[in-house]
Amino acid sequence: MTKIKTEIFEGKVTTRTRMLRTGSLLSSPGMLWLMAFMFLPMIGLCIMAFAARGMYGSVQWTFSTENFWRLMGFGLFGWSADTFLILVRSAALAIVTTALCIIFSLPMAFWIASKNKANRNLLMALIMVPSCTNLVIRTYAWMLVLGAKMPPAWIAHWCGIVPADQGLYPGAFAVFIGMVSSMLPFAVLPLYSSVERLDWSLLEAARDLYASSLSTFRHAILPQVTPGIVAAVIMTLVPSLGMFVVSDLLGGAREMLIGNLIQQQFGSASDWPYGAMAGLFLVVTSLLSLAAFRRWGGGLLPKAVRAEEGNS
């Protein structure tokens, strides 16, 4: 009897397979949720993307690749650059936003990690606090702050950037302010967690071996924070690709992004199949660019530090 008991204890409950099985059972509500509200609708989206538009916003369930060619710019009158520009503009906005977020959050992560434990938690909480407010409301706040006759505009006028009585909004500058401030917490979070675990003896070794500051950063810091940078890129690039509220409100709604395009099809244009194709395209390109980043991005950054055995 006792022998059987110990067998169960040692052989089943504590093994990796057993834990994984129990784990997947425990996570099944989450799995069901994802299946019902994410996976199934995605299948619907894929089907609809290859359907055609009927009269008065209805959907004709016939297979057609017309939506795809339309998205690529082939219309009734041959190829035009309109949708292509929308795609490039969206990608450029997302990439620049992501790059700015990474550049700003790396020093921030170091600064936070240099504080004592209580202050670190407080600072991380403060960084996350703005995310508690709705994005649209935050963006409206930026419209007010960056408008004419506000301190930022005075300063910009004093520096000779904008003429008097004109605000920093609407414009590209305002768009990036809004984008970066809304995405920054998602870049700081993963970077902070890799900076916090930094093995400082590598930095000391680099200094001991006559490395310059730049070389210390390149050889002792960057390889260690690379996993954090990869995570930060994913966390900021994907949401920024589909984001259009910020650029609409702060950019003055003059230039269309893929987000606008999708929203328009499901709204005023009542062309759900075309909207579905645009949405599908966004999802697939996001996934592909992430896969490419993971595959080849390693060439831009030094190889990540592997978990090393026996490294205390």
């Binding site: 003896s201 680099a206 071996l209 006559y210 490395a211 050889h219 390889p223 026996g310």
Partner: protein, 355 residues
């Protein structure tokens, strides 16, 4: 102290530490350390964790700045120089090997930082790797290597820069026992061949005794005793040193006449008169002889309480009037538990401690 090695003799590369104090917050880690280290010496800073030995090493390496006191190499004041401007290199405790670089690139790092032409780097790195016997690992990634191999890389990476002083922060603590003994022997012969001053930090007394020319036993931020391994082991000055090196038996004693002391286990003849009226006497387990009859001075009765076979010796625990003494005997000398014996403690092997 009495027989320092001096390989060059000109004193230009002698290291002088004087009056080093260091506190972290309200915790005093170093409380006035002064020492002179001769060029080419193998020095060990030995002590339990928290005694300040690693902090002292980091001050010599330039990773910490002393609150007061100075570090001088010959006439050159190192106290305010950053690590990369000191002719000193360090082997870190966890080796701090750059994980994204090959073994060769790791070893070449210091030379490349100093902009040595690549044509000169290659032969120097390879000859160093030959010397440390890791030449066949040149193109390997460090993450695939064992602790002993990584330790060698760290050594090669530091030594290739030809420092005047090499600092080693517990370099063997993460390596298993059998390999550790081999590496200790290698470290010792490496130091002999390079004639570079080695300063090793360790809490392992066997390691310290085996490799050092001179041992500094540290306690609570001060040097408790310094001297050759023989000095420190055979003639400990305090209870702390006697217990930390080789687990000597400590007897509390009262002076009871000229060269006589009274202890819990009986009266003992001492080799010298102690400076105290009440203090401690140490005796090493291997200096005690187990006899069946009391036919010599300082032979006191006891009962064998426990015996442990250690392969090359027996370790006995002998009860003597309430105090237990550790005794080491030859493997062929068998004693039974419960046996009544006399322990002979020759007067010349008794160490009168200062406390």
């Amino acid at each position: 102290m009495n027989d320092q090695l001096n390989t060059t003799g000109d004193g230009v590369l002698d290291l002088h530490l004087s009056g080093i104090h260091k506190s972290f917050g309200d915790q005093q880690v170093l409380r006035g350390i002064s020492m002179d280290i001769t060029d080419g010496e193998f020095i060990t800073l030995l002590g339990p964790s928290g005694c300040g030995k690693t902090t002292l090493l980091r001050i010599i390496g330039g990773f910490e700045v002393a609150d007061s006191g100075s570090v001088k190499l010959g006439d050159l004041d190192l106290s305010r120089l950053p690590p990369h401007k000191r002719p000193v290199n360090t082997v870190f405790q966890n080796y701090a090997i750059f994980p994204h670089m090959s073994v060769f690139d790791n070893v070449a790092f210091g030379l490349r930082s100093r902009k040595m032409p690549e044509s000169e780097i290659k032969p120097r790195v390879f000859s160093m790797m030959e010397m440390i016997r890791i030449a066949d690992l040149a193109n390997r990634s460090p993450s695939t290597l064992s602790g002993g191999q990584r330790q060698r890389i760290a050594l090669a990476r530091a030594l290739v820069n030809e420092p005047d002083v090499l600092l080693l922060d517990e370099p063997l603590s993460a390596i298993d026992a059998s390999l550790r003994h081999d590496l200790q022997a290698e470290l010792k012969s490496l130091q002999r061949r390079t004639t570079i001053t080695f300063i090793l930090v360790t809490h392992d007394q066997d390691e310290a005794i085996a490799v050092s020319d001179r041992i500094m036993v540290m306690k609570d931020g001060l040097i408790e005793q310094q001297g050759t391994p023989e000095d420190v082991y055979e003639r400990p000055v305090s209870r702390f040193v006697a217990e930390f090196l080789g687990h000597a038996n400590i007897l509390r004693a009262k002076r009871s006449g000229n060269l006589f002391a009274h202890t819990a286990i009986g009266n003992l003849v001492l080799p010298v008169n102690p400076l105290w009226d009440e203090g401690s006497i140490a005796i090493r387990p291997e200096d005690i002889e187990v006899r069946t009859v009391a036919d010599a001075p300082n032979s006191l009765p006891g009962t064998i309480h426990e015996r442990l076979f250690r392969g090359d010796h027996w370790e006995l625990r002998v009860d003597m009037n309430g105090q237990q003494l550790r005794v080491i005997t030859e493997p062929d000398q068998e004693n039974e538990i419960g046996q009544s014996v006399f322990l002979e403690m020759p007067a010349e092997d008794l160490q009168v401690l200062r406390d």
